[in-house]
């Protein structure tokens, strides 16, 4: 076959696509399945985010309560039967007001990260 006849042969013999009315229906069905999977993934992502926020808030509340307890009861270190722990608490005592700052900073950073995602 020469160049021209091969080109003619190809152009004259485009494959005929068998008519299939179910093709688009099948496409719609698969797209609905994709939507279902997307919905489930979104649901799980929301669930994960809520768990994260609840954990964060719980940590903040517990931290704040403990800080308040330390501030309201300066003699609290006495209840621990550990000199090392008492020493640590005593060292931290003058900085107790500033300890909440990094905690708040972390909370804000996490909040912003979650919002961006």
């Amino acid at each position: 076959m020469n160049e021209k006849s091969i080109e003619e042969f190809l152009r004259e013999n485009k494959p005929a696509v068998p008519d299939d009315p179910t093709f688009i229906l099948e496409t719609r069905r698969r797209m609905s399945e994709v939507e279902g999977i997307k919905g489930e993934v979104d649901r799980q992502r929301r669930h994960g985010r809520i768990v994260l926020i609840v954990t964060l808030l719980t940590g903040l509340v517990v931290g704040a309560l403990l800080s308040a307890l330390v501030m309201l009861h300066p003699t609290l270190p006495d209840v621990f039967d550990s000199e090392a722990l008492a020493h640590v608490v005593a060292v931290l005592q003058p900085w107790k007001y500033y300890l909440l700052l990094p905690v708040a900073g972390c909370a804000i950073a996490l909040g912003l990260t979650l919002k961006i995602r």
Binding site: M1, N2, E3, I6, E7, F9, L10, R11, N13, K14, P15, A16, V17, P18, D20, F23, I24, E26, T27, R28, R30, M31, V34, E35
Partner: protein
């Protein structure tokens, strides 16, 4: 992109897309439709990232071509002899001239390397420009022309009517 908008665009392209894959799959309509459906699902999932930098049709064909290549890599065609596969793909009305021509065409296309086959199919069956073909096959335009020329030369040897 909404589901309805996507379906509307797909309806306009489905015949062309199915013919492209049918030729790549050497006439295996069931396989080509499976690949087409897989491509459409992939396209729908990725439709949010379609920025309109190329035509929807070109973008869709690129995804379909990638699906086809994935399928070729997954399935080893050597497992079934060429003659057996080609025989399965002859359209109905086996005794007609058209059937023989299709058989000769598909057998010849089957012997071409993937890039040459894709270039021939896009250029002669889908009337795509070299630029669109380069977009779909993700190769430079010069390479497309090379594959097209090589494919034509090979087909001249392979097709005996």
């Amino acid at each position: 992109m909404t589901q309805e908008r996507f379906i509307t665009l797909v309806k306009a392209e489905q015949e062309s897309l199915r013919r492209f894959l049918l030729a790549l799959c050497s006439g295996d309509a069931a396989l080509s439709d499976d690949i087409a459906q897989e491509a459409l699902v992939r396209a729908y999932v990725a439709s949010g990232s379609f920025r309109g930098l190329s035509k929807f049709s070109t973008w869709l064909f690129r995804i379909a071509y990638n699906c086809y290549i994935d399928n070729v890599r997954r399935v080893r065609p050597e497992q079934v002899p060429l003659e057996d596969r080609a025989a399965l793909r002859v359209p109905s009305g086996d005794a007609t001239d058209a059937s023989f021509r299709y058989q000769a065409l598909y057998q010849a296309l089957d012997r071409l390397p993937e890039k040459e086959k894709s270039a021939i199919v896009l250029f002669y069956f889908e009337d795509r420009s070299i630029r669109e073909m380069a977009d779909i096959l993700q190769i430079p335009a010069g390479t497309v022309k090379y594959h097209l020329s090589m494919g034509r030369n090979h087909l001249k040897e392979y097709i005996r009517l």
